[in-house]
Each structure stands twice: as C-alpha cells, then as structure tokens.
Symmetry: C2
Subunit: 387 residues, 2 copies
C-alpha cells in the first residue's frame, strides 16, 4: 500500500491547506524589515475577531504552553492564590505551571470526560474567595470536552474580582470566542489546531482589565512578559525573533477564514462533530462525553469489550487514517479524532467508514454500513435545514 | 464550506504525492547540464519495467496525444493502410490522427462500454490483410474499459505482420504492461494519470521490430521523430528542451513505485476497482462496463431514472469530491471516477459514501449505507485473502 498517504485526523497538528503551505514557502525576509512589521501589525489586528477581542492579539514564538505560562506569570506573583479548573490533561498542565511558581494553588477536579458546571464552580469559589486568577480550559483536548466558559466567566465575575484565563488552544478558530462579550481576561491559543498552521506560534488576547494587573504584576519574567509584546506591537514588531514563515502562513489562514466567514466556519465544525458522533453512536461505540459537553473540534471514543482503542488506532493507520490515543489514565482506553481547521464533513464520513472496516478486521461485532448510514443521515438532515 | 478543499477523483490528472510535489520544486538546472543528462538516462532505464520493455523509454515534452501521433507518423507513410480499434473517445483520437495523414484508415468500432474481443479483431483483420499498423487502446479513459491487448496482440501477430501500437495513457503504472512479453511494438503513455505527475510529459516504449520500420519510414516528421529521441538518448539527453521539473518529479515517482513494488501497485488498483464497483452495484447503480472489461484505473457509472450524472457530479463537487462526466455521446449520461496513482481503497470508500449522500440530496431512491456496506465487505474480504 501507499506508505506515505494518510489522512491526518488527530487533534492537532492538523492538515495545512495547500495555499498556506505555499505561503509559508515565500522567500525569507528579515524580521525587522518593514514588510515584516506590516505583517505583524496586520495579523495582530485581523486575529482580533477570531478571539472576540478589540485589542490586537499578541504573537509569541512558542508552543501553546508558552502562552499558558505567560498567562500565569503575568497575572500572579509570590503568595497569590490561584484556582484551576481541571477537566483533563490540559487543565492539569495549568496546574503544573502554577506548581512551578510560589503561589497557592486551588484545584477543582472534574471527572475526565465531563465539563465543569457553573454550580460546581460557584461552590468551589465560595470556599476560595481570595483567588486572584481562575484558569479555565475552553476545549479540553484530552477528552473532547468544551467547557461552558461563557457561563463560568459569569459566575466568576459575580463572585470575585479574579482575572479569568482561558486555554483555547484546541478550539479557537473553530468555535466562537468572546474576550469582550464574555468578559474573559486572557484567552490563549496555538497555531497547530483550528488555525491550520504548523506548531510554533502562540497567541494571547488580553482584556483592558487584565492589562492593569499585568502592568504592575511583580513576578519576574522576560521572554513571557506580555508588556514587552504590547510595547513592541506599538512599533509593529515583536520583542524577540518572530516565526516569519508561520506569519506568512497565518496571513493566508486569515484570508481563508475571512473568505469562509466565522459563522460558517463554526457551523461546519458543529456539523463535523454531529456527523461523527452519529456514526459512532450507531456503531454502538461509547462516546467519552455527553452531547451537551461535546466539542466541535475533537471527539474521544472508548475502546470496546473485545477490542482496545490502541488496536483500533493501529488498524486505522494501516487504512491510511491517523487518529490519536488517550492521555494519562485514558491511555489505551480511548481514541481521539480531531475535526478542526482544514477539515470537512466528508472527512467525517471517511473516518466512520474506516472505523467500520477496522472494527471488522479486529473481529469486533460491527454491522457494516450502520455507522455510515447514521452519519450520512445527520449530514443530509442538518445540511438541508441549516445550510 | 471550505472552497479550496477537494478530493481529485477524476481519471486524470490525478493527485500529486507530496514527495513528488516537493521534488518538482527543486531549483531549476540547465537541460544540457550533466546533472540533467544523468537524470534523463536514469529515468529512461528505470521506466522500462513499468512498460515491460528492455529498451530505454523515450521521453517527449508533450501531452499523451503527442505520443499517439508520434506512433502513427513513425510507422506509417503515404498510401499505407492502418487499422484502429475504436472502443471510445481515445480510440477515436487515434482515428482522427490517422485521418490527418494520407493513409487508408480501417476502423473497427466497438460499442462504447465494451472491450474488443480477439474474435472481433480476427474477423476484422481477415477483411483487411494489408494493414501495416494496428492501433489499440489499452485503457479507454472515456468508458473505463480495459481492452485485452495481450490477447489482441496475439491474434494480430498470428494473422499479419502489422505493427501493434497501444495507448496506455490512462493505465500504465497501474496495470501490468508487456512490450516484450506481449509483443506490443509501441506502447505510449502520459504523465498525469497512474504516473502521478502533472501533464506535459509523454512516453514511448518501442520494440526492436518497430525500430526497423521507424528507421526507414519516409513520413515527414521533426518534433515527433522517434529517431531523434533515441539518438539523443544515446548521449543521455533529449533532442528538444525537456520538461525538467517533471523529470525531477518523475525521479521521485520511480522511487515511490520501486518502494511499493509493481505487483503490489497492480493489486492495489484492482482492489480499488472492486471496492468501488461493489459499492455502486449495491446502490443499484448501473456500471457502464462488465466486470470482465473493467479497468483497474477508471470506472464509469450511468445516471439513474430520476437523476442525471451531471446533477450528481455537481452535488459531489459541493461535498468536496471531484469526478468527471462523460465524453461525446456519453456526455450527461455517465460520471467517471479515476482510481489510479496516488489513491488507495479508503478513497473508494469516501467516494461511495459521498455518492450516497449526493443521491439522497438529489431525491434519488437510495438506501443509505448499502453501498458502503458492500464496498467495505469487498475490502475486508479481499484484504484478508490477498494481503
């Protein structure tokens, strides 16, 4: 079989659109060249609607975690109290970052696969009225949960003066975001998920309220100091060497996003989620999350009685479809597929039929065609009503 | 929806493997540079097994038709008699080429969608014992028929001294070929089908017997004179400017072919054909060709009672799948998909599910999942026995 041919259907990195790949191959320019300054400034402004912010979005050369840590070190200092809502591996990542700082960590652990409810957060915050920053995960990549950060932000605002930080790495660009409207203070993301780029570029959208804290926060920091990024941006540049090729690519990504339109993009992501979930359900597979909590960008499915998620992933790989496994205690228990960025509903049908074949090859009880039938029905139904 | 994202499933051009695309982006070199000479020589030799020839394969800068015409003008001259077996639009192309020459054309027309049988050809040749060259189409792109050129060549050899020319444009690289073993005299092909390249490069594999005719054939010719190509190849070059980027790409194509191995490639193409046909049949659609005649590289399907092939193609295009329509009198009557080159069985499942959705959107009677079930069964069955 064709060894090199595969569909990259993991929850990031995601496939790069050919137009973006071509843009990244543009001849290199100096990062202090006026052309690069123009690019940095335009990108910062054009990203703002994607994050739902009125301020230019900051661009960090780093992976998503660099922006997560930046959100912590710019808003907390020695002795402060911080709260983290942990719904999976990336909430845990926030907790690990905070553990590396001299702050008091208050941790709200939610069972993996479930979202945090406003009620749970309300009770938790009642016990910890002193927290200065609350860290939320918008889409939890490890489970496919989309936390209701808008509602969570509301209860935080009602109860405390804490800043609200949200990790949107695995969903921004595929779901709505409202730094302004939802009163999120810092929303961070990375380039390699719904934003259709290779990894290496991180983003931070920051509210005016957060800037007040950031300006005077005494925690020592240099590379991750948001103030340096804002100051440099006023001169249309970055404080340290930017990822020029990724900026070339991002300019083209923004063209693609603006051509399709954010609302259409969000509808496409919801449709992919619904088509894939309908297929899995009809095959009798167990989805890790309830419909209510399901992210439009990533879906996790449990292994079966007679087959492991790991075996299934290997069979899928042989068929030319690459999916991801579980993390931490879900390793071997689930497989995950990403459906974000440069992906469409037909990719979901391809994934469902591949899973049917892989299950049959594993000797699992599977009614061939049943998953596809349900997935197709979902696609036909939704397309005829919403599109 | 993502406007730029689509699966190119037409019978050529076919998708370019990323490795090949990258190879074509290598910095340009002069075509009389020793590096280019080395490339031309190696490619000519490495192509030989793909055509089943012991002689180096000639490389023409041109589309497939240039090589078809070259086969005519190098083997026929004024007043000669030539026979063409016409099983579709590309047999017709041969006839049109011959009509532009001052030769007597004997034409054996077979209904489109059927192959030419050895018996039909035998009776035909009995009526025309003077023909000097017989033109055959190996895979007829317009119908998806694979003519039994091995058997046809046998009856030609038994009855006449005519040279045997075969058009392998839409199959070479995806099906076996035997210039030596099958006693074909000239086998031509193009770059943009099973050979996974953009169009612009044509190939001719030529037997020793054909060379005797070519050397003395008096028909006027310059660009298409095979003798010039053979003479230049002895100096590791081409008589006219070669398509350097396509040669870079072809070198990588040959790497890919040699890594997978010809027998595995042929099995993959047969499997794609069988998976797709099983799906179409289970959906109650009418295949243009019988199983016996069906090419491993392209399949044609008729429109239905309540829907036209054109409408279906448009629906598929909206879903992100591009297929081709019919040619000449089959325009609007059929749709065609290519399954050759950089394509795998999962592409066929994707095509089948897309067709199910498109039929439902057209209001056609379709049992969702029925085509996929049959296609998956074919894949699972064949893979478990042959792979």
């Amino acid at each position: 079989m064709l060894k090199d041919k595969f569909r990259l259907q993991i929850p990031g990195p995601t496939p790069i659109p050919p137009r973006v790949q071509q843009a990244m191959n543009r001849p290199m320019i100096g990062h202090r060249d006026p052309d690069c300054s123009q690019l940095v400034r335009e990108i910062s402004l054009r990203l703002a609607p994607v994050f739902g912010t009125k301020n230019p979005v900051l661009l960090l050369a780093g992976s998503g975690t660099s922006a997560l840590e930046a959100a912590a070190v710019n808003t907390l200092s020695q002795g402060d109290e911080a709260a983290v809502v942990v719904t999976g591996a990336f909430g845990d990542r926030f907790a690990n970052i905070l553990s590396s700082m001299d702050v008091t960590l208050r941790r709200l652990d939610i069972p993996w696969g479930k979202s945090c409810s406003p009620e749970e957060l309300t009770s938790f915050l009642k016990k910890h009225p002193q927290v200065k920053t609350v860290f939320l995960t918008y889409c939890e990549t490890s489970t496919g949960v989309l936390n209701p950060i808008r509602e969570l932000a509301t209860v935080i605002r009602e109860q405390t003066d804490a800043l609200i930080v949200a990790d949107g790495v695995s969903c921004i660009g595929g779901v709505p975001a409202g730094v302004e409207d939802w009163k999120i203070d810092i929303l961070v993301s990375g380039s390699q998920k719904a934003l259709m780029l290779p990894a290496g570029l991180a983003f931070a959208a920051i509210s005016d309220r957060a800037w007040k804290r950031i300006e005077t926060n005494p925690h020592p920091r240099f590379y991750l100091d948001f103030r340096k990024y804002r100051n440099s941006l006023q001169n249309k540049t970055t404080p340290f060497t930017p990822t020029v090729s990724l900026l070339f690519g991002l300019e083209e990504v923004l063209n693609i996003i603006e051509e399709e339109g954010l609302e259409t993009i969000f509808a496409r992501h919801r449709l992919m989620r619904d088509v894939f979930r309908a297929g899995m359900r009809a095959l009798g597979l167990t989805l890790l999350t309830d419909d209510r909590d399901a992210s439009p960008t990533v879906t996790a499915v449990r292994g079966g009685d007679s087959w492991s998620a790991t075996d299934l992933s290997q069979e899928l790989r042989r068929l030319g479809l690459r999916v991801a496994g579980g993390q931490q205690h879900l390793k071997g228990e689930i497989f995950r597929i990403g459906h974000m960025g440069y992906a469409d509903p037909l990719d979901m049908l391809t994934a469902v039929t591949a899973i049917e074949v892989a299950l049959a090859r594993l000797g699992a009880p599977v009614k061939l065609g049943a998953g596809i039938q349900a997935a197709e029905e979902e696609l036909i139904h939704v397309s005829s009503t919403d599109h």
